[in-house]
């Protein structure tokens, strides 16, 4: 299973390139995020969060299926990142996936943006 990972720097003025307050990690979710596949996603996101990543964008463009295990991972990573004054947002959520998020009101806990550029703008204001 492959994940795609981008780094976007939100400011042109760089004091320290390793200062992760300046780096936004964009993780592209895989097409299925259920109990069997979610362990790898959890390992990846936890390693990034423990390694000093503060701002994370989950790109859900290719996501077709998510269950409670996948949602639990998003919530757990959000808790870790908010503990270090970071944040996690989601982009490109399809309407079918958004229908799953609505009953548990996940969009109140994790912000959803329509494009990556908009979420970068959000992090720039942080």
């Amino acid at each position: 299973m492959n994940f795609e990972l981008d780094i976007v720097q939100i400011s042109k003025v760089i004091k320290d390139p390793l200062d992760n307050g300046n780096n936004v990690f964009v993780v592209k979710a895989v097409n299925i995020l259920d109990m069997g596949e979610s362990e790898k996603m959890w390992t990846l996101l936890k390693t990034l969060a423990e390694g000093g990543c503060r701002y994370m964008i989950i790109d859900m463009e290719g996501l077709e299926f998510i269950d409670s295990a996948g949602i639990g991972i998003l919530i757990n990573v959000a808790k870790i990142l908010r503990g270090v004054k970071g944040d996690i947002v989601m982009t490109n959520v399809s309407s079918r996936i958004e229908n799953i998020f609505n009953p548990i009101k996940l969009n109140r806990f994790i912000k959803i943006f329509s494009s990556i550029d908009e979420s970068i703008k959000h992090f720039k204001m942080c």
Partner: protein, 147 residues
């Protein structure tokens, strides 16, 4: 007349540095949620197209985040890389130093033939293992015991 500039172009200026890598986690045994046993995790990073001076910094940030997060078995798959310069080689050597200091190891796989000539020029293969296939590298990592 009102002339609207395409907004994407303006916003792209923030994206000074973009680095795309495919990351694959391989785990021989299942990992429970919560604590992760990094003895079982082999992290494969696949850089795109080239490892040159403008992308080496992003590559360094990604790999350093992985090592800081606890990853100890790092495999760099070079099958998509066709261009490598001194900054790229320096990044690989620096990350090797960092990961060996913490008791893990770094290996390369899928290196193209013309890149091997460059690597041999700096005696690279004497201190970093280069494997032909991913399977050989996975076998090397699964036999390795973390200190």
């Amino acid at each position: 007349m009102l002339l609207l500039q395409p907004r994407v172009k303006l916003e792209r200026r923030w994206a000074v540095l973009i680095m795309i890598t495919a990351v694959e986690m391989m785990m021989p045994e299942g990992v429970k949620e919560g604590e992760i046993d990094f003895d079982d995790v082999i992290c494969t990073v696949t850089p795109e197209k080239k490892l040159s001076i403008d992308l080496a910094q992003g590559f360094w940030i990604i790999l350093k985040t992985f090592v800081d997060g606890g990853c100890r078995k790092l495999l760099v798959n070079m099958e998509n890389v066709s261009f490598l310069d001194s900054a790229g080689i320096g990044t690989l050597i620096n990350i090797m130093k960092l990961i060996r200091h913490r008791g893990g190891d770094l290996a390369l796989t899928g290196v193209a033939q013309d890149l091997i000539q460059i690597l041999d020029m700096v005696n690279f293969r004497k201190f970093i293992k280069v494997f032909d296939t991913v399977d050989q590298a996975v076998k090397f990592f699964s036999d390795m015991q973390l200190k």
